[in-house]
Structure formats: C-alpha cells, structure tokens
Symmetry: C2
Subunit: 637 residues, 2 copies
C-alpha cells in the first residue's frame, strides 16, 4: 500500500529565502560546530577503547544511568547529518573527519560483528542483557542510518559494510528461533533504519528483522521482565514502571492493540514511523489501522499547537488527554522531528492533507524552535510560555536533539514532493527547483515563492514529453476556504477539484504550463478545545504554517499582562530589520495596569486596563535576543 | 499601651441565629465527639505511662518524626475547649472526664515538675534536647491554657497547680543565667499561654518568662544549632533548613528585626499574638512596631481572600509575595484561628477597624470552614478551589485544627466587645445580650440582629446610672460608604463621627437608648491585586463578612466552566431550605459549552458560551453535601 514515495532531497534545490537561509546555517555552522562538540564532550574520545576506561564525563544519575550509554547514536546521527550536508556539497575535510570515525568503528568491531563502544569499553560481559535501558539497538539504528547516508553521499562503503556485519550479528542474536533472544529495543529506532537498509539494498531480510522487532514488542511473557530476572533484577523496581506496565516504551501490549499514544514521545513516534513503513511495504492493514487510530488519538487529544509533543519531563512524554501545560511543556525537539518522520510515512500510505498539515506544523514550529538563529544553540525542551529563564544550550548532556534537528534541516527538501503512479504531490511550499522522476519520466518543477512569508506560489512545469499526469497541490486547512488557483491564466475550481486536502490538476502538461496558487496568508486566531484547561480564555496567533508568540523584546508592556480583545484586528507587519526580514503580527491590545494598582491585596474595583500594541513573532524565532517573557497562548477578552 | 480589654465570652450571651447555631453545635456535638476521638486515637491511652510503651499509633515519617510528640497539646486544647463549654453549662460528666485526665497528668508529673507524656513514656533521657522539633514547650503552653480554662470554669485548681509546677521547672531550666539553657520553643505557643497565666495570677514572673522566650528568639549563636551539635546532629541537615536559615520557625533573626511574614503560618501567628500581648503589657514600642510591619506585610501580600494563610503544604506556611494558588492552597484552619488571636491583640493596642476587619474575615471564612455543618468533620486544609476530591476528615493524624476551631467557637462571644477607658467598642455583630464592666460601671447592651445574614442591627443600651461614655460601633470597610445610624430616631452623621473604622457616639447614655445601625449588605465583587497571577481575570463574591463560593451542588453547569459577566447583577437569594436558612447569591452567567465543542483539539472559532445561572453559597458551608467542584475565584468576562 505504499502509494507515494518521497522525492529525495538531492533532487530538490531550495531557492526560497526561508529554507535556503536555514539550510545554509545548518550546513555551514551547525554541522561543523557539532563535530567540535562531539570532540569537546568526549564522544569522539570514546572511539578509542582504553583499559581502564576513562572516568565518566556524564555522571550516573540516581538510577545509575548515564547518557554515555548512547553516545554511539550521537556519532551515527552526526554522520547522517554530515552525509546529507556532503550530498549538498562534497567537502574533503568533513569526509576525512567521518572516515577517521569509521576507521575507528571498524577497528573496534568485534569478530562476531558486535559494535557498541560503551559495552566494549566498560562491560563487554554484559552486552545484550538490558535492552530495556541500555539503548544498544537504538545505537545500532542510528549508526546504520549514518552509514547509509554516508554511503549515499560518497559511494564509500566501509561504514555500510561494518554496519551490515553488525546487523547480521543482531539478526543472529534476536529472533523467535531456538537459541535466539526474543528481545526488541527498549528505545525504538533501529526498525526504521532497517527499512531504509531494505530500501537501499533490496534485501528482504532487513525488512523481516524490522518486522520481527515490531511484532514481538509487548508480547507476554514480557521480554523486559525475563531479561531483568536473568540479570538478577526485580522487574517491578523499574524506574519507569510506575504505572505498573511498560507504557513508557510502548511495550505494554502488542503494537496492533495500542490505541492510546502513551509513554516516551520520541520512542512512540519512531515506532509509529516504523509501523507506517511496514504497513506500506508489507501491505499490512492491521498496522495501518493501528497507525491511524494512534494518529487520531494524538492529534485530537495530546498535541501542542506548536506541533510539540509530550508535556511531561518525568517520562519525556505523554500524560493524560488534554494535559498541555504551557510553562512546563517538555515538547522535546526530537519528538517534533520524529512526528515529521511519522507524518511523512503516513502520507506515503495515503495522500491526505491532514498528514502534511501536521508534518508542516511540527516542522516549522516545534522542530525549528530547537535551533537558534545562529545555528549553534539548542532547545531540548520547547516550552510555550516562559518567564525568560528558559534559554537554548550550547550543548546538552543528552545531545540527541541537536543532531536530530540538523539531520532534518539538512534533508528538508525531501519533504516537499512525493510521487505515486501518475501523480506528483506538492506537500510543502517554498521556492525551489525539483527534478522529479515519475515512473521513468523526468519532470522539472520550478516554484517561485517566499513561502511561508507569502502565500503566493508560482509553479512552472517542465515535463520531458507528452502524456497526462496529475499535479496535486496541497491546500492547507487554513487556506481551504479562500485559496485561488490560476492555470495558464484560467481560473481553477479549487473547491471542486480538491480531494483530501490536495487540489488535483490532471492534464497533459506542456512545457511551461504555469499555475499561480494564492494561499491567503493572513493572521488567524486559534482556540483550544476547552478541555485543555490551560488554554481557556486564551488565543494563539498563526499565519500560514507559522505559530506566533509574544516575546518581551517586541512588547512595551509585560507579556503576561497582555490581553487581546476578540475583535481586535491582527495585522501583518513585515519587518526587514528583524532576523533578516520576517513578518510580525501586530494588534491593538490591552494591558493590565498592574503597576498602577497600589498596595491593596484585594479591592472591589477591577484592575484598570490601558491600551497597548501587541507584537508577535514566529514562535521558532523566540529566545534569539535578550532574555524575556514569552507566551504562545495570549489572554483574550 | 493595652488600651482595650476584650469582654470575656461568659458576659456575652449569643442570641442571634448564626452564632447560637454554631455554638450549640460545638457544645453539644463537637466537644463531646472530640473526647471520643481522643480515646479512639490513643491520645487518652498515652496518659498511662507503660514500660515498654505501646507501638506508635502514628508511624514516623521519613524524617523520623511522629505527631505523637505533641499529643499533650491535644489534651490541653480539648480541656480548654471543654472548659469553655463548661462555662456555658456545667456538666458533671464532662468534668469527670477532665478530672480523670488531670489526675493522670498529676500522677505522671515528675518530682522536678517536668511533664511530657512522650518523653516520659519513651525517652526521658532525651528531654529538653530538641526544642526545635519536639514541641515540649508548645505542649506545655497548650496544657497551661487548658488548665487556666478549666480553673476558670470550675474553680478547681489541681490542673493549674500541676501546670504552675511545670512552668516553674521551665523557668528554672531556661533563661540567660549560668546553668540555664538559652532555649526557646521550636513551635511558639507557650508565650501567649504565659501571658494568660500572668493575667490570671498577676505574677510578673510569667510575663518575664514569655518576654525571655520572645527576646531570646533568633539570637546568634543560634540555639537550635548549638542544641543540634550537642545531640550529635548536623544542624544544616535540618529538613526545614532548605533556605539556609530558620525562617520556618521565625527564628532566623531576632523578632524585632523581622519584617516579612515567613515560614510555618501557625508558628508565626502565635508568635505575633504573643508579641502584641507583650507590646501591650510591657508598653514596648519596638514590639508594637514589629507587629505593625508584619501585619501590613501579610495583609497586603500573603493573605487569601478567605482569611486563609500559608499557601504551601511543604512548610505549612508562606512562600513568596502574591503566591496564592487556589487549588493547592494549604490555608491550615489553625492559621486562621491564630490570625483571630493576633488580630484581637492588635485591637487591644489600637482600636483600628483594620484589625477587626481581618479578625472577622478569618473567623467567618477560613476558620469556620474548618468545621462541618454537623460539627464532627474537619478541614485541615482550606482550599479555595477543588475538583471535589477535597473533603473534611473525621479526624486527622495531626488533629491540631479540630480543637482549635472548637475552642474558638466555644469562646467566640469574647471577640464581640472590648472596653477601654470610658469606651465600649463593638467589634463584631450578631444578636446578643452583654453585661459589660467599664471601670466598675455595669452596662448592659442588647443587640437584635440576624447578622451576618442581615446588616440591620438594633442596639439598646442599659447603663447602671448616669455619666457619659463612648459607644464605638465598628463600620466594616464594605459598609463604610453607605452605613446609616439612627439614635433614638435621630440620624447620626456616620462619616463625620467615624474614627479608624468605628462610629463613635459619646454621650450620657440613658437606659433604653437605642441605635439602629444599617450596614447595607449586598453582594460585592472582590478583585485581587494583578500580582496574584492565579486570580487574574477572576472575581470573588462576598456579602457582609462572608466570602462566597460556587459549589457544584447548586449549579446546573460545571463550576469550572462558569463565567460571570462584569455587568451581571449579583442578587441575594435567601434560601430557607438550605442549611436551616442562608442567603445565597445568584447571577445570570455564562458557561463554556465545552461538551459541544466536538473532537477538534484546535480550531479558529472560539468555544461557544451559553446562558446559565450562577449560584454561590458562603464559603464556610461548602463540602457539606455531595462531593463536587468548588471555586471561590470565578472567571469574569
């Protein structure tokens, strides 16, 4: 049922101002600076196995846990990001950095294929004894994704060969057969990496191993119980076993029986992404149905308006329906990135605008906010309200988010188009030039636009010859009522030709055919379901795919004192002086005259309000200037 | 500077419906049932010292602490409440219960006068080694107050003799002289008990001991440090030493240097009450000044509208200015009771309506809410918002609040009048007949009113002869603009004759002179300083001294969904069918149609509102019916 295939980012040249700026920043600043951080933080040093091992750089926490267990994943993810960067522009210096890492990984690899720097450096006798907590399979997955990306960038296979040997070891070790461990990852990730390897090599065994991990998950007797007993541990003493089950790692029941999005958000979304991949490649309706149920659950009960996920720091994940606190929102950057992965895979199964809509929401807001304007500071947690104390970090003891955002931005062109049968779907907008392959036909598409700053999109089609096909242009929900399209000067019946959120134009396209699409981009107010108590009597502002926030730097009165009257006109205000040119939103607003109240604690007259102007900037840009208060959800009167 | 003396409650016969009902409930149900609870909970059994002691009834907490340390205080407080009850009506059965307790206390008392059932029963070798935590002096104070009350009720001195011996032991043990410990209570209380003993006996040494405790408090080197080191403990490991000082017990600095109300709320207010007592009896301006500074601090930054105090459960006390969360409000009943004590003592120093105003606010709301309508269930915590799960307890592992409310209600008549020089001050209203002694003159005052249900007050004066004096009638803040008074049919110039919140009528009163005072009692809206973020965009309703709340039982739509328009008329609605007759408040209101919203998590149209009616009842009466949500602070539009 894989109906659509994404068009690889190497075929999509981003020319619009929004993404070319972000991409350049990531390529020229983020990826190189991340290598330096890998060095400074000791992660590169871990490649040199020493006896005795050096002291821990990241002290163990109260549970005895150190994030050094998954340093391998950081190596893999950086190589993946660097690989994507190299596909934009080869760079011998960067390749030398990667090759040096790969040489050490190859040297470290054990004869039986095993490769895990923590265990090999510290406690090899304990390998494969704690899948629940120790991230061995998660590490393997990220290394594999790095190896694939680096092979695709350079054609050099050494890392891929190393990883294929390791995967062979894993395939031998885990499975349902006599003498195998019936284990699966405590932190899902390897499943989607294996699907990538299957797509690269065409070798079915990789798909089968991913399928085994997904199908085995959550079965009884529970592997994590058995594994713990085998280690001499009491499974019920597990730190994340508070709820008396394994919801934390989505292994509380078989995946097809899961109908609530629970537990650790990144684990959840990596798993759902793999489930969607397998549903497509195996034509598995039960997996697809589970994905659809979970999709509906999270998007109707457990999603922040910023496309952030997981309110709670304690489990880095989900709590209860409609529990979406703003000032304590966890909203790990990785969770938004993982949602982009999952949404894209859902879109492969069914070209439905709802998937692209959430993909775009998570990408432009919850993901991009994870990276500073200068490309070298990171949010791990993406709160929706702050007193100004929440700031981006130069690095993190658990740097997973840093390279998740860089690998995504470095390959963001890959989310713009997908192709299926005789259809080309345009999922994201922004100036670009794409060379598409549609069942052997070559079709170039040029898009001129400054999206998301403007909703004016001019698409010119250059097919390689004759023959009809459908161009499917996503009409975002926020533009569904007012979108206008003109084909070679003739109006298109947008409502009449829109199916599942895509304007379908099926015709025998001629070279130079041009569609002018106007997605009216004006400020809109967003209200939350009143069951989200934190957002009652509040409003969020958005324009196009961007969610906005009020940050103190732009507002003359305290942000928490702002009140936006319901009938106030919220206007666009382009500001060339801010962040190299953005569109801000402004509105006449009120402010509680808190300072004029006096000393009384209580009185019978309400606080006075005075007139002020509210200015809002795109949420992803906040905290790039002097520290100050910030709110996405603004009091409305 | 003690300008006014309260008129003892035995001289004030309460005839109005409000207080006669509460008083009867406390006398006939609360005090007798509390004796049964003392029995069931093991507190009476603790009077029989056994070797080995029986197992703990109240398990030690993580810090090794058990509330059994202060069971003596519960005995003392119950005897105090029973003593007050006996002054209303003698009762041989109750007296036999008290006498039996007193006999056991006398039998237990050590030769040197020491009397503490915990230490004598468990670890006598450790007595007086941990004033910081173990409540020995607090227990002694409550036993002393019980002994005084019982002596005043019955004329029998055995308990008083026991306690005078114990106080003599304490006086010998503590003090600034060679061989004495320079200690003072970890939980203040004995100070105000000693002042009572001074007033009873006229013996200056009791005032001096109270003065010593107050003056010694917070001096360096710190006694609690020295005492801990002497025990072999690390003083900095103290559980309540988080802030690096002794704010928890208001011993972080000498009392005269304290200018912020901090720490454990009950400790604080008992201490401030004693400071006000000493300021009056010693004519100590520095103590008075400290009290005034602390009064202003708490009433302008740290007081709930219900006259509740102390938002935090972790220290049973204060946090930061304007931090007044509603759903997690701690507001221990004892803290409101202690505020009544402090406020009355401030009023003795200076007859200023602000003190009576807060006294009344704490009495009618934060205190009375601590006791159920039937007189046998108790709130320890008086939250201002609840999802319905917060209910009164039949008893508590720390039953301090139960007998604090019964001893206060049993003696509430003592807060109505005070006399100073040639003035009689009427501080509280409610039908009563009082026999006052003003410097030897006997003056009877009859008040007819159903206050607080009505603000119509008819006072008739019956002096014993001729000679001018002043009658000072408190004009509450909420009535200051509209109060009307008529003396023998002639209007009184209320604004012109009001001083510091009291309408002063100085004349040669004749038998039968009558004042009709009308305090317009209509619903009023109360707003909090916007610095109290939790109450922004919310309104509280009050009528007379009563703060109201919306409870689910009276409201057809969910209380959290209610919105009260700013211009909605809030009307009185007497309800004879509720609680034997109360005045409710009703208003046309709106409700968020949360159930009609549908499944969307976000959308661009706001939630609809529909019309409903809001009904509010007096806050102190909530949680006497089926469990349901409750809010004092209601959303206002």
């Amino acid at each position: 049922m894989r109906r659509y295939h994404p068009v690889d980012f190497t075929r999509v040249s981003l020319t619009g101002p929004f993404w070319s700026e972000r991409l350049e920043t990531v390529l020229t600043r983020t990826v190189p600076s991340q290598y330096r951080k890998l060095d400074e933080s000791g992660i590169l040093e871990s490649l040199d196995l020493k006896d005795p091992p050096p002291p821990l750089r990241i002290p163990r926490n109260a549970s005895g846990f150190t994030t050094q267990y998954f340093w391998d994943s950081d190596l893999g993810k950086w190589i993946e990001a660097a690989g994507y960067a190299l596909r934009h522009r080869r760079d011998p210096a960067v390749e030398a950095q990667v090759d040096a890492i790969v040489d050490k990984l190859e040297a470290a690899q054990m004869d039986d294929g095993y490769l895990n720097l923590w265990y090999q450096g510290h406690e090899i006798e304990n390998r494969w004894t704690n899948l629940r907590d120790r991230h061995e399979l998660y590490n393997a997955g990220h290394l594999l994704e790095g190896a694939i990306a680096y092979f695709q960038a350079t054609g050099r296979r050494k890392f891929l060969d190393v990883m294929e040997r390791y995967i062979e070891h894993i395939r031998t070790t885990f499975g349902p057969n006599e003498g195998q461990k019936r284990g699966y990852p405590g932190h899902q990730e390897i499943e989607l990496a294996l699907v990538k390897l299957y797509h690269l090599t065409g070798e079915r065994k990789h798909l089968d191993l991913a399928t085994y991990f997904i199908n085995e998950r959550g079965r009884q007797p529970h592997y994590f119980d058995q594994e713990a007993v085998a280690r001499g541990d009491d499974p019920t003493k597990y730190h994340f076993y508070n709820s008396g089950n394994y919801e934390y790692s989505q292994s509380h029941r078989p995946v097809r029986e899961q109908d609530k999005v629970v537990g650790h958000a990144v684990r959840a979304f990596y798993m759902y992404a793999a489930m969607a991949d397998l549903a497509a490649d195996l034509d598995d309706d039960s997996l697809r149905h589970a994905c659809e149920v979970l999709w509906k659950d999270v998007t109707t009960t457990r999603m922040y308006v910023t496309g952030g996920f997981g309110p709670s720091a304690s489990n880095e994940g989900f709590t209860t329906d409609y529990d979406l606190p703003n000032d304590t929102a966890y909203c790990e950057t990785c969770a938004s990135v993982a949602m982009v992965f999952w949404a894209q895979r859902m879109l492969n199964i069914e070209l439905d605008g709802q998937y692209a809509e959430i993909l775009e929401q998570a990408l432009y807001n919850g993901t991009l906010s994870g990276l500073s304007r200068d490309g070298e500071l990171y949010f791990y947690e993406n709160k929706l309200e702050s007193d100004g104390s929440h700031r981006r970090w130069p690095w993190h003891p658990c740097p997973c988010c840093t390279m998740n955002v860089s690998r995504l931005v470095a390959s963001v062109g890959g989310y713009f188009y997908s192709v299926g049968g005789d259809s080309i779907a345009v999922n994201l907008y922004g100036g670009n030039s794409a060379e598409l392959d549609m069942g052997g036909r070559k079709i170039r598409i040029d898009e001129q636009s400054t999206y998301p700053w403007s909703g004016s999109i001019r698409i010119t089609v250059h097919p390689d010859g004759h023959g009809p096909f459908a161009l499917k242009l996503r009409i975002p929900d926020w533009a569904a009522r007012d979108a206008v399209a003109v084909l070679n000067g003739n109006p298109v019946d947008v409502p009449g030709q829109t199916e599942s959120g895509y304007l379908v134009i099926h015709r025998d396209w001629l070279d130079g055919d041009t569609i002018q699409l106007e997605l009216p981009m004006k400020a809109r107010r967003i209200y939350a379901n009143p069951k989200v108590r934190m957002d009652r009597h509040r409003v969020a502002l958005a324009r196009g795919p961007l969610v906005y926030c009020a940050e103190q730097a732009d507002n003359p009165t305290p942000v928490p004192d702002l009140i936006l009257p319901r009938d106030a006109v919220v206007a666009d205000k382009p500001r060339d002086d801010l962040f190299d040119g953005i569109v801000t939103l402004t509105a006449p607003a009120q402010t509680i005259a808190a300072r004029d109240w006096g000393n009384d604690l209580y009185r019978t007259t309400p606080p006075e309000v005075s007139q002020t102007t509210l200015t809002a900037i795109p949420y992803f840009l906040w905290a790039n200037r002097e520290p100050g208060t910030m709110q996405v959800w603004i009091r409305e009167s």
